[in-house]
Amino acid sequence: MPGPIQSIERAAAVLRLLARGSGHHGLTEIADSLGLARGTAHGILRTLQRVEFVEQDPATGRYRLGAALLHLGTSYLDANELRSRSINWADTLAARSGQEVRIGMHHDGAVLVVHHVFRPDDSVQTLGIGAMLPLHATALGKVLLAYDPDLSAAARRRELTSLTRRTITRTQMLERVLTEVRGQGWAGEAEEYMPGEASIAAPIRIPGGLVVGAIGISGAADRLCDSAGRPRATLVRQVVQAAEAVTTSLVDEN
């Protein structure tokens, strides 16, 4: 077993220091209190600031605990914020793939659609923002399940509703598929949600790797899949690239 990681111990010490007393400290104070070089302390504070565990007062330059610590575990990213940050990449994905695009986040045991871009063929379509989709039968849902141990445990305890004759209804089968999703970094589904329809999705992460949502395309199964019923490699690549671009945009602007 590897030994303790020094920088994490130091970060914990910084947080403990800020959590007691006045709660406002300058860089030198923090470095001196913990016996750290200023450069080291600065690096730790900058990283903690990036993950929003620490805030810097713009007027005094002093550090304090960040608001994110107070609601740790409730929400990592606002759904409307995610839509706003990802809108250009979702448009690009729709333009390149020729398919409709959705971005989903987990809500109340289902996929909440937080963004939707129409298939760019000018056919009549209905905006699906706010719709709920099943976790186990869609590519978006499988991505969310694959990277959230609690969610997949809850799914195992519940009955998996059959929506088509191809919907995965056996827990063991779903487990196998989720392991595969984690291995390849994307999820696919053909006619498991609706006959004739298929979908492909990939994870959106915040810095550190936590998956906060999924972006994916959906459309006619014969367009999305090859003759063997496997998702087409070009489309998979486009979806994964879009997910990576959104992930990067979340890093940039933090």
Partner: protein, 502 residues
């Protein structure tokens, strides 16, 4: 060899170079911000040389990013912040002072003075614009009056005037070595010096503002710029120029009479294509040129909303009720309606269709029931109702209701706002797949001029629907809410009247 079109978007805060392919897909983007100077309260200036240097960097950068050579660029289109202009020495190319930006209000007193001059009614008739600080002519007059020796030098023909399109085209096509001194009709239409009917500089307007004709560029149709770059990346044809909001109208393919686009950013800019009809607004809108492709222009009516996204920024930065702008929607969704609360964001007066500089903002309908969720709703609804006022004015001026609103800009990511705009207008709201409508409009105009795209129909085929919001609001509820909004707006007038004049 695959070929592309390039757009330079010279905006208020940054300059961007974007490369598009034949399907109007974005291939590369390079961008550089420039500094804003505030030498005195109310003054806003920019360094035209800095902007030119930025263009010098971003054009090669965009080509590198796209992995293409200059020969693969069939045409370049220029679009720009409107009304901002610079004066420079014709023989050295050196600017005389900094560029005066459209936001600059140094001419407030001068504008009041000019407003009392005989002939002021005639001015509005000829140029289609009300006398205001942000059009170019008052600031140009201010420069001629306040920079020592400038008027004499200008009258001798040693000085050139240009909005940012003109400045960039002159420099790109050679500068002191035979640079083209031209502008397009849409940019010229924002100076207050162009006659809308003749689309030439108007002697009466030049006389009124005291501007010597010799400083002004030649006015050309939007797609007849006909220059070739000799600097930065030599050999690229510059075929088109358009003001930014006009480019957005074109990029949204609003080619039919009666079609409207709304760009929602810091402010909101609505333009309606009125076709070959020069409509003089009776309802508080501006008359302008939409674009001119070939011989005849498409006229347009414009209604600007001063405060749209900036109200959300105010809510975030000054009230601290949200962390980021998109969170306004999350907060607004914690309540089901505005709870009877309305916010009129007349931070620096009201623009279209009221044009009341003295009006100030207000929050009305406060009760102990109102919480921050209701306020967040009132913030978003303010943009919706201001849109309704402008669209109502457009419909009244044209005499026919528009069937749909095409939207672009950052605020289109706000789902609640877009639904609300559709609800209060009672028409569908449509968002296109390409969000960069300003750059795309300039690219379209340039590509059209170069034969890269065959005709307007070809461009329209590139427009794809990304989202559509349909109205669902009950008609009675809508009219009742609109009446409440109008009463709130009237209260800002009352406040303006009761304040001591300054």
């Amino acid at each position: 060899m695959q070929r592309f079109v390039m757009a330079i978007d010279q905006g208020t805060t940054s300059t961007r170079c974007i490369v598009f392919d034949q399907n109007a897909r974005l291939v590369a983007v390079a961008q550089r911000e420039h500094r804003q100077y505030h030498p005195r309260p109310g003054w806003v200036e920019q360094d035209a040389v800095e902007i030119w240097r930025n263009v010098d960097r971003i054009v090669p950068q965009a080509l590198r990013q796209a992995g293409i050579s200059a020969e693969q660029v069939v045409a370049m289109g220029i679009t720009n912040q409107r009304e901002t202009f610079v004066l420079w020495d014709r023989h050295t190319g050196v600017p005389i002072g900094r560029a005066i930006v459209w936001e600059d209000i140094r001419t407030e007193d001068l504008v009041a003075e000019l407003g009392r001059k005989p002939g002021i009614e005639e001015v509005r008739d000829r140029c289609g614009l009300p006398l205001a600080t942000y059009f170019s002519a008052p600031s140009l007059r201010w420069m001629l009056d306040n920079v020592a020796g400038l008027r004499a030098k200008a009258e001798r023909g040693d000085v050139l005037f240009g909005t940012m399109d003109t400045w960039l085209i002159w420099n790109l096509t050679g500068g002191v070595n035979g640079g083209l001194h031209v502008t397009d009709v849409t940019n010229a239409s924002r100076t207050m010096l162009m006659n809308l009917s003749t689309r030439q500089w108007d002697p009466m307007l030049l006389e009124f503002f005291g501007v010597p004709a010799v400083v002004l560029p030649e006015i050309r149709p939007s797609t007849e710029i006909s220059g070739v770059t000799t600097r930065v990346v030599p050999g690229i044809s510059i075929t088109a120029a358009l003001g930014d909001q006009h480019a957005a109208l074109f990029g949204q393919t609003c080619f039919e009479k009666g079609s409207i686009k709304g760009t929602y950013g810091t402010g909101g800019f609505l333009l309606m294509n009125t076709g070959d009809e020069l409509v003089r607004s009776k309802h508080g809108l501006l008359t302008t040129i939409g674009y001119q492709i070939g011989g005849e222009p498409a006229y347009a009516l414009e209604g600007s909303i001063a405060v749209a996204g900036s109200l959300v920024q105010w809510f975030r930065d000054n009230l601290g009720l949200i962390h980021s702008a998109p969170e306004i929607e999350t907060l607004a969704r914690t309540v089901k309606d505005n709870g009877g609360c309305y916010i009129v964001p007349a931070f620096s007066g009201l623009f279209a269709p009221h044009w009341l500089a003295q009006a100030r903002g207000l929050v009305v309908g406060l009760t102990s029931y109102i919480n921050k969720g209701h306020l967040a709703r009132a913030v978003l609804e303010a943009t919706g109702w201001q849109t309704r006022e402008v669209v109502d004015a457009m419909n009244a001026d044209l005499g026919a209701p528009t069937p749909v609103l095409k939207v672009d800009g950052g605020m289109t990511a706000d789902h609640l706002l877009m639904q609300f705009i559709s609800d209060v207008l009672d028409i569908p709201v449509q968002r296109p797949l390409v969000a960069e409508t300003v750059s795309l409009g300039a690219a379209y105009a340039a590509g059209l001029a170069a034969g890269y795209w065959p005709d307007l129909e070809g461009l329209r085929r590139n427009w794809h629907l990304a989202a559509r919001w349909n109205p669902v609001m009950d008609a009675k509820y809508r009219e009742n809410e609109y009446a409440n909004w109008k009463r709130a707006v009237e209260l800002t007038f009352a406040w303006a009247r009761s304040s001591p004049s300054t």
